[in-house]
Every structure is written in C-alpha cells, then in structure tokens.
C-alpha cells in the first residue's frame, strides 16, 4: 500500500483500489459514484487507480480489487485470473459477483444454446452458464446486494483500512423492517423473503411496500422450509415464491435441495 493517512496519530494505509466489471449492469459501481455527499471522502480515503465508469486512467498495480458481475464468457475468466494475480484482496461486489445475480436466471434452462438463440438470434456470441466469481478464484470478501448499499461499502472500506473485522449482519431483513415500523407484507397478503434473507439493506424493498426478493442471499441457517410453509398457509402461489428465490442466485443451493427432496 503506497500513500499514508493517519487515524488517532497512527499511520494507516491508503490502499490502491481498482474496480472491474464482468457481466453486470454496472449498477453497483454506479452506486459508489452516485452519493455525491460522501464521494469526495471516499476518494480521499483510498487511491482509485482503475474505475472505467468514473475515469480514463488505468493501472495494473492495486491492493484491492472490487469485482462486479458474474462470469459468462471465456475472456472474463482470463481477466479474473489476472485480477486475482495482481490484487492482494479481491472483493466480490454485488449479487452478480457473489451468486451470479439476475444473470444466472438463464441457468434454469436445460438447453443454453436455445437460450442463446432466443436472445441473440444468429448473432455469433460467446456466452456460457452464469457463474459467481468464487467458482474460479478465491474471493476474500463478499459484499451482497442488487445493487450494493453504498453506505455498507463505505463502512467496509473504513474497517479494512483500520484493520477492523468485517462482519455482515447475520440476522434476516425482518429485523431492519421491524425497526422501521413497516407493515408486514404478509399482513397485506403479499410474499416476502425478508425472514430468510441476510439483512444489511435496511429493509429497502419492504419499506417501499415491495416484499424482499432475496437479493442478499440467505441469512445463516435460514429456515426456508418454514417460509414455504408460511406462504402455503396464506395461499400465496408457490411460483411467486420460487420466482423470488431464484431471482438473484443466492438461494440456488437450497432450491436444488428442495427439488431433490420434494420434487418441486
């Protein structure tokens, strides 16, 4: 780490940071840029050396690499391996990088060639199954969300610099939702994945009267079986719940398990 800054009179590193995108909508990177009130503070805390969405300069010398997006092409695999080689710390930024994100919806179809044809017609294009970056390289830290929550990223970066531990909430979204005194979506007859989804977004969707879609993936020990039972009891069609569970890829393991055990 090159330049220095101080905290309580003690030197702390000012890491060289690079941002990269694989297959994604670049919404997570945009989140980093779009909070003008704190952007300057963020820029002075780290030294950004590569950030295609915000600057033209680039460098291959960086300490921390934030990787947004999932792997869907061969050339992305090569890029990712290079990033891993260059960076001390690789951070998966957002649900695409962590779980495959919305992109992994295509994996639901058995015939990926058919998917390709439906979307791109005869246009020649290299696209494969959408995979989280951890399927190819070691990931040091995952930041969840579609999109990520800027404040959370800022806190994480401060803690990195200060050498503090980085802890994601282990409780589900309901904790944040109740703290905001929202009406529970189930009271309105709507489904919500809040009880099984890792918190940290400050109950973004339920606060706008949209049930949670599970973009941050499962909370540790999420009781998915009970949630399905709850939806069933309330006559919420299972397809509506499955649509949500499948949307961002965080629950893919549990879904596979469900399919195996219950033939869903």
């Amino acid at each position: 780490m090159t330049t220095k800054q101080t905290f309580l009179g003690v030197n702390v590193p000012k890491p060289r940071v690079a941002f990269f995108e694989l297959s994604s909508c670049e919404g997570c990177q945009l989140q980093i840029l779009n909070n003008e009130a704190t952007l300057l503070d963020f820029l002075s805390m780290v030294e950004i050396v590569t950030f295609r969405e915000g600057m033209t300069e680039k460098s291959d010398e960086y300490d921390v690499a934030f990787v947004e997006g999932c792997i869907t092409r061969k050339d992305e695999e090569q890029r990712l391996l290079t990033i891993r080689k260059n960076a001390g710390l690789v951070v998966a930024l957002g649900s695409c990088a962590c779980f495959g994100g919305v992109n992994q919806l295509k994996n639901r179809f058995n015939d990926l060639n058919w998917v390709k044809k439906e979307v791109y017609g005869d246009h020649p294009i290299d696209t494969q199954e959408a995979k989280p970056i951890s399927t190819l390289i070691d990931v040091d830290l995952e930041i969840y969300g579609c999109p990520i929550k800027k404040e959370e990223v800022e806190d994480i970066v401060v803690n990195l610099i200060l050498g503090k531990s980085i802890d994601h909430p282990k409780y589900p979204v309901c904790m944040e939702c109740k703290a905001k005194s929202n009406i529970c979506l189930f009271d309105l007859g709507e489904p919500c994945l809040g009880p099984i989804t890792r918190a940290g977004c400050d109950a973004w969707c339920p606060s706008s009267r949209l049930g949670c879609w599970g973009c941050r993936g499962p909370a540790p020990e999420a009781n998915i079986k009970q949630l399905l039972h709850i939806c069933n009891e309330r006559e919420i069609p299972m397809e509506r719940v499955m649509d949500r569970l499948e949307c961002f890829g965080g629950f893919s393991e549990s879904i596979e398990q469900l399919r195996r055990t219950e033939g869903r």
Partner: protein
C-alpha cells in the same frame, strides 16, 4: 386516589392542552388483507388522526424511550487526541396519549431493569423521566392475555388513566400534573352512580378475556421441562427473525457497534436493539456460539421472561400484550408455547 369525570367529547380539549408538547398516540396504518385496521404508535399533531379506540398496535411504545437504533456517543479526533460527547437523546418532553394497561405496565417493568437497578441506563432514564402518560381503557382482543400476567390494570406508571363509560370518561388521577390538567376541563366528582357504572364496566371487561396462560408454579415447571421435546418442535418452526423481540414492549437486549467516518476524524458508538432469537446472540469473541440451534435460543427467550425475571423481580417480563404471537409469521404464541411446556393442551 382522586377520581374525576368529564364528558368524552372533551378528550379533544385535553389533547389540545397537551399539544404544546410532542404527542405520541395510536394512529391508523391502513387495512390488512382481511379488511382489519392496523394501528401503531406515532407522533400525532391532529386530534382527528388519534385512533383512541384502537385494538392493539403492531409495535409497542418502547421505541420512544428505547429506540431500535441510538447513537450513544460520538468521538472527535484531532491528531492523537480525542473528545467524547454523549447525548441521552431526551430533547423534548413526550406525551404518550392513550396507552393501554399492558403498555403502561411494560414501562414499569423496563424501569426495574433500566432505571432502578445498580447499573441504570441513562439513555433510557433521561427519556423515560421526560414523559407524561395518559392511559386509556381497552377491549381485550383474542391475542390479549394480560389478565393472566397481572398487568390488566394499572396501579402506577401513568399520570392519568381514562376509562370510557358511555359518553363520559372516568379519570383516575395519578399525578399532580394530571390534576392541574383536569382543572381546565369541565370535570365533576364521580358519585355513587358513576362508581357503579365504572365497576360494571371493569367487571364486564374482566369477563371478556378469551386468552389465558397458566402461570402457576411456572418457574419450577420450566426448570423441570428444560429438556422437553416441545422446545425442539417450536425451534423447527422459528425463523430466528427477531420480530418477537422487536415488537415486544419489554425486550431490551442490544448490541453495540463502533463506526468510524470516512475522513477518519469522527466516530460513533451505535446501539441497536437485538433479540435472543437471532443466530449470533450468544456468539462470543473467538467465534464460539453457545446457542447455535434455534430451539435453544427460543427456549431462552421464555426462560428469561418467565423464569429468570420472575426470580429476580417476582413478576414476569411479559405483559401478555400478545404482540409477539400476532407478528410471528410462524405462529409461535406465548399461550401455546407455555401450554405445550406444561404438557396440557391449550384451550384458549
């Protein structure tokens, strides 16, 4: 005790007299899918928004003295020096308008731990002592079991308690502040007829409870049933979501987190209400978790409320308000859990 009567229509005048302060009261949050009105406590500036005939609110009023999130202190750094500032958050007096007996009693219970113990919590105390409380009579709801918990009536903890008797209010005056407030309304001294009306009304209410919990010898029974299978069964249903503690008027557990600003010149210490049902509640430094399984956590919620607290304070840390059971998506209710632990079937 001093009793007074005044016309129910003058509740608006009482509200107006108090409106120089911030008033917290029951408001409507809209209808649920079955067309039932949902209520919650919030700031009320307009008397017409006050839903004094509310059934039960989703959340309790505890957040006004025990907020879900609170900045307990801020630190400013200059060079290698630092300064700490503490803000107890009691910036203005609050009027809690229309609390039911269960909720007044819940504050009395919190006081025992957070104000009267050897380690009082000044963040709670500062706000709590800056409140005026107007209690209001209620109609027992299907989820209410306050009668079983001995919290269905109010002996202390409010300034004024109002019981609606037809077109009039029967007022129990608990403080001189309340006495002086009532001086400004058209009050009269209740006579024998009013007393009879009042007694008939409270008898009718007492008879209308449909939900009960058998608390006799419960501390001992809980000890005997520590290894009971029923805990596992409830644990399998539990989502470990913390909703029960969030809506509960008497849960007070919390976590602390320190956060440094991005320019590294300031930090805050944040307090967040927590719940013993959350997976990492009993996780300690080094990563060991004393209660990794959901049923052990759920069990301890009941042991704290119905055993530990009873042994320490001779009362349960539960007012029977029924909120936890109403909000629990998994349908875990105190009456059913306790009945199952006692081994009998629950006949509520």
């Amino acid at each position: 005790m001093i009793f007074k009567m005044f016309p129910a229509a003058e509740l608006e005048d009482l509200f107006a007299l108090l409106a120089v302060n911030r008033i917290i009261g029951p408001i409507s949050k809209g209808l649920n899918k079955d067309g039932h009105e949902l209520f919650d406590f919030d700031h009320v500036t307009d008397f017409s928004h006050l839903k004094i005939a509310y059934t039960q609110t989703i959340h309790s009023a505890k957040k006004f003295c025990l907020p879900h999130h609170e900045e307990t202190s801020t630190f400013t750094f200059t060079g290698d020096d630092w300064q700490k500032e503490v803000d107890f958050g009691a910036h203005q007096p609050l009027v809690l308008f229309g609390l039911h007996p269960c909720d007044i009693n819940s504050l009395n219970k919190l006081d025992k731990v957070l104000m009267d113990s050897i380690y009082p919590n000044p963040f709670y105390g500062a706000k709590r002592q800056n409140m005026l409380i107007i209690g209001h009579s209620c109609t027992p709801q299907p989820a209410c079991f306050c009668q079983s918990m001995g919290t269905d009536t109010v002996l202390a903890g409010c300034d004024l308690f109002l019981t609606l008797l037809g077109d009039d209010y029967f007022a129990e005056v608990h403080s001189s502040r309340a006495y002086h407030l009532l001086e400004q309304l058209d009050c009269w001294e209740p006579g024998a007829k009013d007393h009879a009306r009042f007694r008939a009304s409270i008898e009718k209410r007492s008879d209308s409870f449909t939900n009960t919990v058998d608390t006799s010898d419960l501390t001992k029974i809980l000890d005997m049933e520590f290894a009971s299978q029923v805990w596992q069964q409830w644990g399998e249903r539990c989502l470990s979501c913390g909703t029960c503690a969030q809506v509960c008027p008497t849960c007070y557990c919390y976590g602390i987190e320190e956060k440094v600003d991005m320019d590294l010149s300031r930090a805050v210490k944040n307090k967040q209400l927590y719940s013993c049902n959350l997976i990492d509640f009993a996780e300690v430094a080094g990563g060991h978790n004393f209660r990794p399984e959901s049923h052990t956590r759920l069990k301890y919620r009941y042991y704290h409320k119905h055993r530990g607290f009873v042994e320490a304070f001779e009362e349960a840390l539960c007012t029977g308000c029924g909120r936890c059971g109403t909000s629990c998506l998994a349908g875990i209710t105190v009456p059913e859990v306790i009945a199952s632990v006692r081994g009998g079937s629950h006949d509520a």
